[in-house]
Subunit: 327 residues, 2 copies
Amino acid sequence: MSRSRQGSIVSYRPDIKVLDCTLRDGGLVNNFYFTDEFVKDLYLTNLKAGIDYMEFGYKASQEIFDPNKFGKWKFCREQDIRSIVGDNKTDMKISVMADVGRTDYKKDIPNRKDSVVDMIRVATYINTIPAAIEMLEDAKNKGYETTVNIMAVSKVNDQDLESGLELLAQSSADIIYVVDSFGAFYPEQMERLCYKYLDIAAKYNKKLGIHAHNNQQLAFANTIEALSLGVSYLDATVSGMGRGAGNCYMELLLGFLRNPRYNKVAVMNFVEKHIRKLKEEGAVWGYDIPYLLTGILNTHPSSAIRFIQENRTDYAMFYQELIDNAL
Amino acid sequence: MSRSRQGSIVSYRPDIKVLDCTLRDGGLVNNFYFTDEFVKDLYLTNLKAGIDYMEFGYKASQEIFDPNKFGKWKFCREQDIRSIVGDNKTDMKISVMADVGRTDYKKDIPNRKDSVVDMIRVATYINTIPAAIEMLEDAKNKGYETTVNIMAVSKVNDQDLESGLELLAQSSADIIYVVDSFGAFYPEQMERLCYKYLDIAAKYNKKLGIHAHNNQQLAFANTIEALSLGVSYLDATVSGMGRGAGNCYMELLLGFLRNPRYNKVAVMNFVEKHIRKLKEEGAVWGYDIPYLLTGILNTHPSSAIRFIQENRTDYAMFYQELIDNAL
């Protein structure tokens, strides 16, 4: 793998794919209670915008999570997706995510020929990679495209990460994602991380993806950094909607990409109709000082989410609490 | 000039200097009507935070701009600065900015020995560089440190830019600023631009600075990109306060820098006390779709500021208007 920028800013790389995970990561903001109108409009928007993959949500276990306490996109039942997309006779593919240990994938994920879903995305921590590989093999045997995210790699030492990547590279995963779960990485660090993934991807002929968080207003910067180095699957959400500081903004990403298939105006129209309303109704996400602090300290945003929910503004005290608990 | 990253993320470079331009760029949001309490608290905050330079505002001509229509920091009279800082017996230096053609610098800028101001920052367009050089020589002769910003370089062709930089490099300017006036540059482009400035800076023994805008949520990313390449004077504002999409957030920048002289908590305390209040009272700045669009189209944010002031949300129509007018 040559260590240089791939492509130029004026042209485009046909290997680039954009994945909209607004419902999935955004669902963590509102417990997946999206209106059908929102979901249908987002689907139509993504078609117009040229999005390559739309993620509808999680395949969460209904044994573990009470279906009465979450919107339907936490579970992504086949009939619920079909109520939006019909048979999805389009060239946009559909993905769902399944977390290791929180899914009854053997039972809840049908064969691909019986589903409108095209891709299963598996999320794992470093210590559950063997379980993730079982899920990936199950999905591959059922006929799906597969991706795998190793979460929280900013807390994993280099040797363990390399061992984990080797295991995943030998699995049926089609695409391995570089994930900055805590919004902790600066672009220089993202560059080093990407080269580690790119070396393994080249060796085993895998593709790579990037999923970034906006704790330090770097989700977009890290996404285009990764893409310029050769990463090709790019996650983004409308207006960055996602847990805590949120994700890479789809508007920014489509503004950057030069492939004429992408249409940022469609996404802006969706923002105008739906996102302002969602925020006015009380959904809260996006860069804020508490997320900056959890990002700097390389820790989960849950305490920052609580801080904001409690309408606290004593940032200095919160920082001390984080240092006491996190380091 | 070697083309590689300078320093590492774990250590720090002692040549780095941080300049707070909240009053100056932020003054463009509220016509410089800051309360004395705000300005005094910001001064004390910057002292605690280890900021190297604090910019109080502009040295604008009172012949051109009616002092009854702007707060006092548009003019930065000596007695107004002294009412905040006394004789400024601290190690934080004070700067003011003067725009070519909008200042009576010969009359309004006293000798440095009669002033608490340490540095005069000259802002110019490519076509007024000879006038900027006259101002720089005047300031240098009066005893000041000097910087020069060439604004709107994203609209200047390479040959003109190189000619302009050569002229400035032969002037008395101590520091030449790389400025992304329209928030149009991606980090890859910022890298190329910085190398152009770095080559000339090395040849003439000048230092470089960076002043970024947040139209594409890249002000912080571009600032640390420039710094990692060897740029050493870093502009930022509290919570990114500045015209349109605003600037690099001081909180993010101090979170990144490893020099123990910098204290981000002091800035967070200022945000808690003053910035939320300022926003609640109606001051508007920060990333939004209209600024993304002017950034992408490499044009001045004035039309986007108007769009937002008029409470418009028809982004698609605005984009068409921009294309009609800007290209």
